[in-house]
Symmetry: C3
Subunit: 433 residues, 3 copies
Amino acid sequence: MTDRDHAGADMHALIAGLFPICRSITGNGVRRTLDILGQHVPLEVHEVPSGTPVFDWIVPREWNVRDAYIQSADGRRVVDFRQSNLHVVNYSLPVRARMSLAALRPHLFTRPDWPEVVPYRTSYYKETWGFCLSQRQLENLAEGEYEVVIDSSLEPGALTYGEYHLPGEIDDEVLFTCHICHPSLANDNLSAVAVAVWLARTLAARPGRRYSYRFLFIPGTIGSITWLARNEGSVARIKHGVVLAGLGAGEAFTYKKSRRGDAEIDRVVSHTLSHASRPFSVADFSPYGYDERQFCSPGFNLPVGCLMRTPNGQYREYHTSADDLQFVAPALLAESLETCVRIVDVLERNGRYVNTSPKCEPQLGRRGLYRSLGGEMDAASRELAMLWVLNLSDGGPALLDIAERSGLPFSAIAAAADDLTSHGLLKPVTDLT
Amino acid sequence: MTDRDHAGADMHALIAGLFPICRSITGNGVRRTLDILGQHVPLEVHEVPSGTPVFDWIVPREWNVRDAYIQSADGRRVVDFRQSNLHVVNYSLPVRARMSLAALRPHLFTRPDWPEVVPYRTSYYKETWGFCLSQRQLENLAEGEYEVVIDSSLEPGALTYGEYHLPGEIDDEVLFTCHICHPSLANDNLSAVAVAVWLARTLAARPGRRYSYRFLFIPGTIGSITWLARNEGSVARIKHGVVLAGLGAGEAFTYKKSRRGDAEIDRVVSHTLSHASRPFSVADFSPYGYDERQFCSPGFNLPVGCLMRTPNGQYREYHTSADDLQFVAPALLAESLETCVRIVDVLERNGRYVNTSPKCEPQLGRRGLYRSLGGEMDAASRELAMLWVLNLSDGGPALLDIAERSGLPFSAIAAAADDLTSHGLLKPVTDLT
Amino acid sequence: MTDRDHAGADMHALIAGLFPICRSITGNGVRRTLDILGQHVPLEVHEVPSGTPVFDWIVPREWNVRDAYIQSADGRRVVDFRQSNLHVVNYSLPVRARMSLAALRPHLFTRPDWPEVVPYRTSYYKETWGFCLSQRQLENLAEGEYEVVIDSSLEPGALTYGEYHLPGEIDDEVLFTCHICHPSLANDNLSAVAVAVWLARTLAARPGRRYSYRFLFIPGTIGSITWLARNEGSVARIKHGVVLAGLGAGEAFTYKKSRRGDAEIDRVVSHTLSHASRPFSVADFSPYGYDERQFCSPGFNLPVGCLMRTPNGQYREYHTSADDLQFVAPALLAESLETCVRIVDVLERNGRYVNTSPKCEPQLGRRGLYRSLGGEMDAASRELAMLWVLNLSDGGPALLDIAERSGLPFSAIAAAADDLTSHGLLKPVTDLT
């Protein structure tokens, strides 16, 4: 097995361990999840009390559920939380009642268009309760009385999230964030949680980092709002950011650009995907999706995009019980991790240089940097990369600009900059872009 | 009949009443036309004496024609002004002579490529005379002597035009202008005259208007030059303008942009047409066409475009007797009027707002502005419109910018802005864009 | 024969005369070439001593070759410089030895993919020697001993180049440059040398020139570096420049833009090619190619592009013995010359004007500049050109801008500007663009 195979298998194993836990935007499922992640990276876990005002919102009461079922007259659980935590509408109020199927029906949710799967539903901000089940299950329910139990609690407690800060040479930060509020859904979003953990481990193991890195494992929406409210004074440190979501299924990547649209992170991710010899797409920002909505709200307008494979809502398994452990592939997880590492590599290396010999080309041949025998049909791409770097490095364009204009991969441009720097033909501009 | 059907029928009836009148750039035909229009809107009629200098031009002598014909030896009128005023070349000098067909021929104009129709010709600035007839008529003329009569006069008089000013809250004006110099041609341009009159009536009937509106009913070229010369000091009030032409025939609209190319009116009309689920085209400015040539001359460079259906010269009936009452359709007139009203609606409502809660999204659900039960597949477009307005309203983009960037119709964006404003989440920026 | 035919034939004859000479980046072949060119234009010939530092480079020793061959045991020359100077690797060190075929092989270069042709190879900056031959020749060489002779010298001498300066009304210069270092290769680059000579003659014969013109006949790379080093103080005079290369073969032109990408010369050449009703392509700058690499190095960044037909490396005959006198066509040379002349015409005539009657259109008809009889279907393009010039000439756009925006050829726009100027409706802005 290659390192990449190992990483894919390990990430899938982590997902498998996290899958059964009933997570929500608050509660013990989140705590248990962060405990497990903490075995892989040294997470700092934060508890923010219910009732804490966070901008226009208030941290909600904590929800926990122990059991939930619908039991028929013969004592059989026809819908059972123990089989899948998707069966209970997330944030359901407690209920314990006997009622007819007719009375129960408004509380039952199915996917008539795909009768085999259980949908995923939440009701965070409206007090109600409900069950999700497959259309098949619903059709098999006989008329009659049912015992309906949701043994949940919605009480003052806390919102829990995890954070991992990895210092670098400078305080400027790269943010990676993912939502951890979904219960038994593998691609959305345990896949991204696993990739974020392995990315953090990979970067922590590196000898040197220019940027500092911050990883957030937070409940969607209220988690990013809470984090931003508590860190308002220091968010200006975030120079680049990526929301990670749905990274275990779907061949092609989709990157959704930040609100700015031309932030360095937008260009870095687009460049990285465009040189990966795979179909991919780059979408413009829209204020609907994941936590980029909060990071890109006008009061912050941070350079934060969103890296996904198939986007939310665009695959059939989205928000159903079919988003299970079989749906996410170790090889795709590994490729997602590699892509994140490449993005980081570009961010770390991007910078401006000046050609120290800007009048005409310097004589590369004399320095062993050039083919000695002229007249060949094509310039080798290594030489072409050097010529591009020399030609454009007037202190204006950074290496990424040069990669974009030349059409060459950033890695070739960076290698050329190294070669030229070591021969004294190039020197870095000390103030970072 | 719907209101729309009524409007279409009424505009067509107005066109039918105006059709027989022999109009030109000056003369009693214009006066009679403005009299009739004055029955629908309170027009101010201006008379500018012949000989008045207007920039590089001089108001020409007034032309009137009472009768014109070519009579064969047997006393039959083979070409007769009383049958169609297109038969006389517009601005022909008076003539009363007997001449052979050979001598007459240089004064006869036909359309050999379409032998059934009478072409429309003018000779405003070269003193000559002539007749237009169908190629069929010409072929039927026997050799021999003809009595040739044009009972016209070209004498000092005045250039006549009509103007209607509708005040609004601010002095900034929206200009709608159309040419009234064409004789019996229905689409070019009685169609646009009728749409302008009905648009004026519609706006006059509104309770509130932000902008003031100015409607011009003027002869082409010399009319706009004369108006600009007489109103040079106040044209800066014109913030948006549209030349209306040929609005009764042809399924698709064509909008020709102002010389500026990115004026607000250019974007407003383009947006309006693009959300009308109909084929349409937007053309770049060129200095050939209608009176936008004068309004967009470099000394004025006003933000004035031109709204047409099939453009001048691009339909077969253009400038022929086939541009008749059957050629213009009441339903198309009604749709043209609606389009103008929608353009006005966007102009009236466009403006900048600021999100009063710019850090993260405000909690829409608490205010009843959001679906209560999460997990659904698609965001409703109403919510999406609110999210776009909130996300982009940082005082920079106006509602039209938001509509353009989001791809949503302006009406949805404006409705979202209303909802958000009523909940205190948005407030208008007081200085207008 | 037309003038054009004559020019094509004359240029081809010049090429035929130059073809046999063994040129290199230095040496007597260059001197003999410049002597011949000097019979057509009064060239100034410069000799720069070996060892002269020129920026990062040093003028190399002078290379001359008198004879070279490989002789088999039976006394037959199996490879013979006297048959083609391509047979010796350009800049080969002298050698005189007997050696086995096995020992000789590393010094033999062929084109296995095209067995009939002799490739062209150089080794300017690495001391070695070699022979080029066809794959067929190589295959026919029997094992055994060969006498190997290259009677060359590599000694202190000079780098030679030719320059022709043609003064104009202003000191601002247009540069045309071509490389003269290739031996018996017709398209690359005797074709461009011939076109440059004929262009210089054409411009010298003109009564008036606004710009000054400079023609360089220089060895590739080291020649332009040497020229730039010696003229560093005056290169700012170069306002437009074109490297000429490969102008005798290939139907379509390719223009490679300057590093700036939007320099006036880039737009002038693109416009000229786009109105020539021929396929053509315009390529972005890249730092690989001809001497534009040096002129566009970041320390100079001059507005210098490159005009070619089929670009270097993109035709099969490139850098082989198949690039011979049959490969270049007189008609294509003549068309290349014409294209250069048209480019010069645009540069000479481009400038800004102001409409002296900017408020509304001036009355063209009164001045005989307009059709007298209205109502025709299309505006004649001459009138349209006048309307465009009047409409856009507010002191901002130059004639080329107007040509680009209108889609009309520059010649039509310039003719309209002449007409309008002679009627006092336009006057030139005196400071040149």
